[in-house]
Symmetry: C2
Subunit: 215 residues, 2 copies
C-alpha cells in the first residue's frame, strides 16, 4: 500500500509547511501579531485547513518551542569539547546567551512567554528542557570536583548560574539594555559573563582574568 504512505508523507509535509510559515511570520512580525488567518493566507489555504493539521494555535507554538529547545541543546553540547571545566562552563553560558540573542523570538517562546493553558504539553516541555539542565549540572559537578564553588549545593549552583544567564538574555530581549548609553550591548554581555568570573575566588589557576569571551 504505497498510497497510505504517500498520504502520510503529504500530511507531514503540510504540517511542516504550516509550521515553517508560522515561524517565519513570527520572526518577521512578532508572535502576538500573527493570526491563524495570516498563516492561512500565506500558504494560500483556508483558515480552517490549519485545524486539520494542528489542534489549535497553541500546538503550533508548542512545536516551535520544542524546536527551540533542540537547537539550544545542540549548541550547548558544543561546550563539551573543552576539557577545562571552568572554561567549559563559561562556554556553556556563552552558548546559552548567544542562542537567546540570536533567536530572541524562540527564546521568548521557550522561557519568557506565559505558557498557554494546556498542561499536558507543558510537561513535555519540561522534559526536553531538562536535558539542557542536566548538561549544566554535569558541567558544574566537574567544576566542583576541581574545588570550585566549595560548600554549595549543586542544584543551588545550577539554578543560580541559569538565573544569571537567563537574566542577562531576557533583560536585553525586553530592551532593558538601553539603560547603558556608554557601552555597546555586546560589550555589556561579555562584561556581564566575565563579571561572575572575575568574582569567582582564585581556587583554580589564574588565567581567568585574561580569558577571552568572544563567541
Amino acid at each position: 500500500m504505497g498510497i497510505k504512505e504517500r498520504k502520510l508523507q503529504e500530511k507531514s509535509e503540510m504540517r511542516e509547511l504550516i509550521q515553517k510559515t508560522a515561524m517565519n511570520l513570527f520572526l518577521e512580525k512578532g508572535f502576538e501579531n500573527i493570526t491563524i488567518r495570516h498563516i492561512a493566507e500565506k500558504i494560500e489555504y483556508s483558515p480552517a485547513t490549519i485545524y486539520l493539521y494542528f489542534k489549535n494555535k497553541d500546538e503550533i507554538l508548542y512545536i516551535l518551542r520544542r524546536e527551540g529547545f533542540e537547537d539550544l541543546y545542540r549548541r550547548q553540547k558544543d561546550s563539551l569539547k573543552l576539557k577545562d571545566p571552568l572554561k567549559r562552563l563559561l562556554k556553556h553560558g556563552e552558548a546559552y546567551v548567544s542562542f537567546a540573542l540570536e533567536n530572541p523570538q524562540y527564546y521568548d517562546l521557550m522561557f519568557m512567554m506565559r505558557s498557554p493553558s494546556t498542561r499536558t504539553k507543558e510537561m513535555n516541555d519540561m522534559d526536553i528542557g531538562l536535558q539542557s539542565y542536566e548538561l549544566l549540572k554535569n558541567n558544574i559537578k566537574e567544576c566542583m570536583e576541581k574545588g570550585l564553588f566549595p560548600g554549595v549545593n549543586i542544584d543551588v549552583a545550577a539554578f543560580s548560574l541559569w538565573s544569571y544567564v537567563h537574566g542577562i538574555a531576557s533583560l536585553i530581549i525586553r530592551g532593558r539594555g538601553i539603560m547603558f548609553p556608554e557601552e555597546g550591548i555586546n560589550d555589556m554581555i561579555k562584561g556581564a559573563l566575565n563579571f561572575l568570573l572575575e568574582v569567582i575566588p582564585d581556587k583554580l589557576d589564574s588565567k581567568k582574568r585574561s580569558m577571552n569571551l568572544s563567541s
Copy 2:
C-alpha cells in the same frame, strides 16, 4: 467654582475605581484572561464608559505598571538603612526578589511582558524604572569604594547584578523552579542570593559566609 473641582474629583475617583478593579481581576485571574468587558461588568458600567477614563486597555496596564515601579522603589529604599555597603547591596537584592515573588503579576507587567505597541509610554516607564537602577548603582559604587568588584565597570556590575536577581525572579515566576525537587523554593532563592556572596572574593571582612538572608 466648587463644582468643577467636585467633577474632577469624581473623575479621578472613577479612574481609580477602574484601575483598582482591573488590578484585582488581574491578580485573581491573570492578565490575558481579563477583558474590558469583565472590568465593566464588575463596576456595573458599560464597556464604553471605560474609554471615557482610559485611552485604551494598554493605558490601564501602564498605570498599574507605574504603581509597581513605585512600590518596588519604596521597598528598595529600605536598604539604605544599612551602613555596610555589601550588606546593603544584599538587602537591595532581597528586596527586589521578594517584591517580585510577592507580586508576580506586577513583576510580570513591569519586566516580563512584551510591552504594547505605544512608544511614548514606554519612555516614561524607563524614567521611573531608572530611579531604582540609580539606587542600585549607588550601592555598587559604595561597594567599590570599599574595594569590592575591583577593576569592573560600574554599569557592567549593575547590569550583572540586576540580571542575576531578575533571572531568579523571572524563572521562578514562570514556574521553572519546579526543576528542583529536593529543596523548597525559598531555600533555593536564599541559596541563590548567597551563591554570589559565597563566590565574591574575600576583599572585605569575612563575616559573609555566616550572614543571614532571611527577609
